[in-house]
Symmetry: C2
Subunit: 345 residues, 2 copies
């Protein structure tokens, strides 16, 4: 399963090739390209002639020069809001700092186009490696990173069908476990407020998990009343209002994350519904929001800090030895708090 | 009040100076330094000779070459956790994106040393401009940025005694306004849970605001029972426990931000105290946490999104025309919700 990351860019000339052809050290090549005024004219001409002969690309050159030297790790997260990614990224940064690395974070607003731009920007600025969230993206991006020799680690998602380096958790199995508990309590009308599934493998896997649990209880997954909406407290509240306005409202609302669940909880209160007596609500993530609301949310605990720290250690190794680790799956666990109970009879 | 940012680095040779001395266009100078292999040897030698004659610094040169070209804006925030900075930074990024700029964010963990490293890294990677939080930092950092010609905008703090470009709000006056309301209700034993004041001008100003309000009511600022602690829900709870264990516990606890206040609220509940009947608690920021707790927090509303968007527009202008705007002070307002009432008689 392991493979040399550098194998993916076999035919591009390296800094060492330029140095060999010019008969100088790699340090001199580097100096010549970065601070030409500090290099003797004769040496400079020899180096630049070697660059031209080999077709050493300035872009690739910048990257090669930067290898293990910029000390920059890039991370692109879908949003800085709502603390969904904040805790893990903060732990990721603190762990990278222990290795003397600087983390630069970009936020893509859940846009694949913005993410692609940010990937190119970070690579052009010499990022030694990248952390990206989820597997879903244009395959051309993975080709681009492989060609540039930039290691990439996927976080937040574990998918046994994907061989690339990743650290995450089984979103599908975790959500199936929670939905199974909801169904065991006797709920038969289930609603779900999910993030937009397009381009978001975590959201899709969590929906699939609820489907799995329904099937496990002999129910048709098509009976799930699913609302997809961008993650925000206000959207969670709006989704809850829609579900409660149905002719037969669900007795339990499974939310794609805690942010949506907190919005659903606020709306329930606004509608005069008691949670969990009148309706059950569950979250996913176990961010701080989950424990400050009253009643506290029943949710899936994701080991955000552990994931952030472990991701940092994996990336440090990948930059150091160029070896892609096998995918890592972390455990999640169910947190039973105050928002889940049996339906009213 | 307006001044040319470039005035702060009056004696450094510019890219245009090199072009003039070498008798070539600035584009040729740029190409010569970035992609020397693409330039005729004779031209290259003329340019590099001009670089040497003028003492044009490669670092400064890299920066000048990068001007209006990398499209990268750097921002360094103290932490990614707790959503304190998240909402404004997300708005900042979205507004920058409209101008085709890419935001790279670093988080300093409230460490001046880490922040200084990150500033150097972002400048070395060609950041066109920087957003930094608060004025407090080694003056050498401002000199470094001025010398490199990198515009810097300070956010989150408005200080009329600081001439540098900034957008923020008057932390001292805003907190004084809230503390004044607390005192008007008749509270005479006030506790405060603040962030660590060292190196954090926002925290110091908020403490000074409470002192101002006490003086305004003829009370000695020394009577304020002040606890300083890093921002976190757990630390807010711990601070509240300490205050409530005093021989004469405060009847109102003013918190340096909403995160600490939510922790204080949790601890009050744990101690069996009703808020606001037994003790009043106030926050600062009006982040989402403030409205999801029950009772919702009485706090100071800070216009985070407006500040983020306006900061982006200011920085785009600063990069474009090199003019430092006069400091901008945004309005805050008091949000009276459920955690402040008169003391028990």
């Amino acid at each position: 399963m392991n493979r040399r990351l550098s194998d993916t860019a076999p035919n591009l000339p390296t800094l060492a090739d330029v140095a060999r052809v010019a008969g100088v050290s790699t340090a001199t090549v580097s100096r010549c390209l970065n601070s030409p005024a500090q290099v003797q004219t004769a040496t400079r001409d020899r180096v630049l002639s070697a660059v031209a002969t080999l077709g050493y690309s300035p872009n690739f050159g910048a990257r090669a020069l930067a290898a293990r030297r910029t000390g920059i790790i890039g991370a692109i997260i879908p949003t800085m809001e709502n603390a969904i990614f904040a805790r893990a990224i903060q732990a990721f940064q603190e762990e990278l700092h222990l290795s003397g690395l600087t983390l630069l974070v970009a936020s893509s607003s859940y846009s694949p186009e913005i993410e692609a731009d940010q990937i190119r920007t970070l690579v052009a600025r010499g990022a030694d490696a990248l952390l990206l969230i989820g597997h879903d993206r244009d395959p051309g991006i993975y080709d681009f990173l492989a060609q540039r020799g930039v290691p990439v680690l996927i976080a937040w998602a574990y998918d046994p069908t994907q061989a690339r380096a990743s650290i995450g958790f089984d979103n599908r199995r975790a959500m199936a476990g929670l939905a199974d508990e909801v169904l065991r309590l006797g709920h038969r009308h289930i609603g779900m407020i999910s993030a937009l599934a397009a381009g978001n493998d975590r959201a899709r896997d969590r929906i699939a998990g609820v489907h799995d649990a329904l099937r496990g209880h002999g129910l048709d997954p098509a009976t799930l009343h699913l609302i997809e909406t961008p993650y925000s407290i206000a959207n969670g509240a709006e989704g809850m209002a829609q579900l409660m306005a149905l002719p037969t409202p669900p007795t339990a609302v499974v939310c794609g994350n805690d942010v949506l669940a907190v919005g659903a909880l606020q709306m329930a209160r606004q509608l005069g519904l008691s949670v969990p007596q009148d309706v059950s609500i569950t979250g996913f993530d176990d961010i701080e929001l989950a424990t400050v609301v009253d009643p506290a949310l029943t949710t899936v605990h994701v080991p955000h800090r552990d994931m952030g720290r472990a991701a940092a250690r994996l990336l440090v190794d990948m930059v150091g030895d160029g070896v892609a680790p096998t995918p890592v799956c972390l455990d999640t666990n169910l947190c039973f708090r105050g928002t889940l109970a049996a339906p009213k009879t």
